[in-house]
Amino acid sequence: MASGTAVAPLAAAAARSERLERVLGQALALLASLLIALLLGALMILGYGESPLGVYARIVDGSLGSVDGIGYVLSIATPLTFSALAVAVCFKGGMFNIGVEGQYLVAMVTAAWAALSLDFLPGPLLVPAVLVAAMLGGMAWAAIPAVLKVKTGAHEVVTTIMLNGIAISLLAWAINFPLKFTEAPAGQNVDLRTDLFSDEALVGDIGQYFGVTPGAHLSWLLLLAIAVAVLVWFLLRRTRLGYEARAVGSSPGSARAGGVSIGSIQIRLFLISGALAGLVGMQQILADKGHLGAAYTAQLGFTGIAVAFLGQNNPIGIVFAAILWGILSRGEVALQIGSDVPREFIIILQGILILSVVVTYQVAKRRLAARQLQRAGAAGALEDSAAPGESAGPRESAREGPPQAFRPADGGER
């Protein structure tokens, strides 16, 4: 009897420490991967005959050492935040949206179309209309793999890879034919692009309020990205859809048994992901360039996957991961002058970082699972010795202590 009551608080503590252990484990894995990447990077820097600490200090100084630098970092982080959030939303539901790349390309086309053909709208309406057009474009492109997955079982990874290829051609076609510029400055060679958007279609610069150079193109899209991150957090953590999404993601079988319509959840998640992906290209066409041209920045969808891993698919973590990515990217500038380390070092460092994140996270996950399994086994053994024939799991007894009290006293341990 005495040991029977002792099991309950023990199990409750175990459940609590289990969660603590998971959070700690994730943090440790992240820290370890950062350390590994920095160490490997240091070895490379030593290979160039420079001091690792000195180079790292210059990278940080180049990106965070001035107000302008911070502005650049944040404007690099803006599209990556959208992109990584789009990846994370699908990931929580157990799906892999590799198609963010294609979705944002299509969205840039629909947004460019809206910016050029809806310019009769007054300024305060035009920008929202363009953003909505972008989100709709991304959603439409994301709807294809979602519906195919649910209706035919086609794996979303394969279909989105193919749709990425189609999107590249679609964008090329759009700027070659329907959206090709009509008025080019006389006597100048212009790269293939759309007409310039009217100033009213561009998003406002917020850098000026903080003394950031206009060259950084720090726009209020950054604020939108942060707000969207909070919204996504709320969606995943505090709404029914988010709860069901996580259920589908962690255990589709029990989700179905629990009455969740998996297909409808998957389609809704993919549409949300597509809408977020639609916003990825807005920084470049509405803040940086003011048109959509053949020299657009690609790969943001894939980089978003890296940022999502780095932020471990946590919406708030993603904002910080995007900023970290931006710090590294901007740090390139510091390596251009007076250093033997080539600027390509940064991109290798990012690669090593993401590889080590993926591997350490996987290792940590397996370690945790093994430990919890072991502990469950140990707890089970304890329970068995306490009350033969009783097989209530430690968690159950933790939640509903009373049943233990109803156990007949003829357990035999006394």
């Binding site: 193919m162 051609s169 894939f302 980089t303 996957i305 891993f309 600027r343 996987q362």
Partner: protein
Amino acid sequence: MPLTDIAVAVQISFTYFTIIYLTGTGGLFSERSGIVNIGLEGLMIIGTVTGAFGARFFTDDLGLGLVWGPLLGLLFGALCGALFAGVHAVATISFRVDHIVSGVVINLVAVGLARFLSFAFFAGQSTQSDPGGPHLARLDLPLLSDLPGGLGRAFSGLSPMVLIAAITVFPVWYALNRLRWGLRLRSCGENPEATRSLGVNVPLYRYQGVMLSGAFAGMSGAFLAAEVIGNWREGQTLGLGFISLAALILSNWNPLRLMFFAWLFGFAVAIPLRPGLTDFWAIRDVPPQFIRMIPYIVTIIAIAGFVGRVRPPAAAGKAYEGGT
């Protein structure tokens, strides 16, 4: 003269066949062993930069001449591709990282690594090398290149690699269907637990499959850069790795059918490159960009099960928990 145009398009399609077929064969070895490899594009990218460097290095710097130089360049690209594929192998096989995740990372890292290598190889140029690099002598196929009406053009001026790639289908088919090694490799991809119970070292075979995929994709990239274009340029793979993946899927992971789809997609890639051809017949009104989409659209249709049936190796992409 449409016949000549068709012939030239066919000739270009042989070039793209070679690229798609070699990369697809790489994917075949990896996925047959049970490791999904969507990093083919990245492996090709490493092949392009190292192949372009290798061709120049062995031909000019070591003075090995125009046969051994370019050949060793191609092999150097294959070697580097295999080494880089080792990253995918370690991640997926030893650390059991999700295959898709690792493949995405491979593609991401390849872009940066290529720039880094290029900076080291080509005297600080990080996005391209000098044009006009050495390549193998071009080949006119006997008899076929004498076809009348301009059709001979299709079979003249080919890189010898086109023939070599076409011929590899025999050893590849034989290895996978007749050799004990190939049968074991395939059974690792179908049922690793059962394979292990027969005393086969599953991770070892999977390492071989993935490294082979890197070798083939790397050689394909080296061929593209050194033989076809003549120099390395950033982004020159243009999604051909993904088209190879599409051909592989449509082929149902079968080397003979892979050959057919590789050529078909090679032709789709070639059509927009031949302006004379796009002026003619029904495709006159089709924008070239839409022809580029064909391989992807066909693959989506097939994957969705509207035509035919796609059946990947049963264990491909699944985590294998067993040891050696």
